[in-house]
């Protein structure tokens, strides 16, 4: 038994049944390239990291195990030119758009505005942590089971059309930007594993290939339907 995420076939040796459950829709008949094993040490490491962000946080081992798997899988995937991004990825007409920002800005809310207000079929690729596979002439947004607190996402792959930095605003506005206009957020919302130099190098190489080529926008949005119409209209050019 194996799983396939972003085209990468792997197996998992997990301690709790939570991991196989969240991976259920990513089962695959292929031959795994690797078996990712999660140990109690990995779980404790995740607990330490969570406590560093919020000292009062209390998480179950089951939940922390799924985070440990995400971390290990993300590192494996770097060798396949694939990087984890924090954002909400939606697809329209076979093209994917990613809204990125710090947690709490309203990425998922804006993605919901797309689903509810566009005269188009809007597919949720992943509402929280999509993978981006960098290919020769395109970038492909891939679903993953880590799809946010509402569990919105599918096991699909869609070519990337644009990345949009989201901000809250009273009046809606959107501009095309350069990488230099939003370096902190764009670099913080991709996962750069810094424990080892070679993984950090690889992540920066992929960041270079993504941010050198893709269309970038900055959107200031409120929660009215018009926000979705403006962002979709501008980014799609339709």
């Amino acid at each position: 038994m194996a799983y396939r995420i972003a085209g990468y076939v792997f197996d998992v040796k997990a301690r709790y049944e939570t991991v196989p459950r969240i991976l259920e829709s990513y089962r695959d008949d292929g031959i795994p390239e690797v078996t990712i094993e999660i140990t109690q040490d990995d779980i404790e490491h995740e607990r330490d990291l969570s406590k560093k962000i919020d000292p009062d946080s209390e998480h179950t081992d089951r939940y922390l195990e799924s985070l440990a798997l995400l971390r290990k899988l993300s590192i494996c995937l770097l060798s396949k030119n694939t990087i984890l991004m924090h954002g909400s990825a939606v697809a329209v007409d076979g093209e994917a758009y990613i809204f990125t920002a710090e947690s709490g800005t309203g990425k998922s809310t804006h993605a919901r505005l797309w689903r509810e207000n566009l005269d188009k079929r809007v597919i949720m690729v992943n509402d929280d942590k999509p993978f981006l596979r960098v290919e020769e002439d395109r970038i492909v947004v891939c679903g993953s089971p880590w799809n946010g607190k509402h569990g919105l996402g599918e096991n699909i792959e869609v070519p990337l059309r644009a990345i949009c930095v989201l901000e809250q605003a009273k009046e809606n506005h959107i501009e095309r930007i350069d990488f230099t206009d939003a370096i902190p957020v764009l670099m913080q919302q991709i996962y750069i594993p810094t424990q080892e130099a070679y993984t950090a190098e690889k992540a920066l190489e992929l960041a270079d290939r993504i941010y050198s080529g893709v269309d970038l926008f900055r959107l200031g949005a409120n929660m009215e339907p018009e926000a979705a119409k403006l962002s979709y209209g501008t980014m799609s050019g339709r």
Binding site: F179, T180, I183, P184, M187, Q188, I192, T194, Q195, E196, A197, A200, E201, L204, E205, A207, D208, Y211, S212
Partner: protein
């Protein structure tokens, strides 16, 4: 003096970005963006140097006066020292 170990420097979409790795990543959080002069100086400062080396490297490479080069190097070293990124400061 020299820049401490544990940093990697890479160009991302035309900008030079520095991130800390390994043990340094636990101590120094965050990311540094360098302009082209700073990136040039950073590479020279990864191995043992005194300020005069950097000033000479700058005036050799760029069309810049001794005085301006000296000021750029002073600023560069001071900024890095403040962040505790240099060992063996003289």
């Amino acid at each position: 003096m020299r820049i401490k170990d544990g940093f990697i420097l890479r160009e991302v979409a035309g900008k030079v970005i520095v991130v800390s790795v390994g043990e340094m990543a636990m101590k120094f959080k965050g990311m540094i963006t360098l302009n082209s002069t700073a990136a040039f100086l950073w590479k020279k400062a990864e191995t043992e140097f005194v300020k005069e080396d950097l000033v000479k490297a700058l005036t050799d490479e760029y069309d810049v006066s001794d005085e301006d080069a000296k000021k750029a190097v002073d600023d560069f070293v001071e900024t890095l020292s403040k962040q505790d990124l240099i060992e063996g400061i003289k």
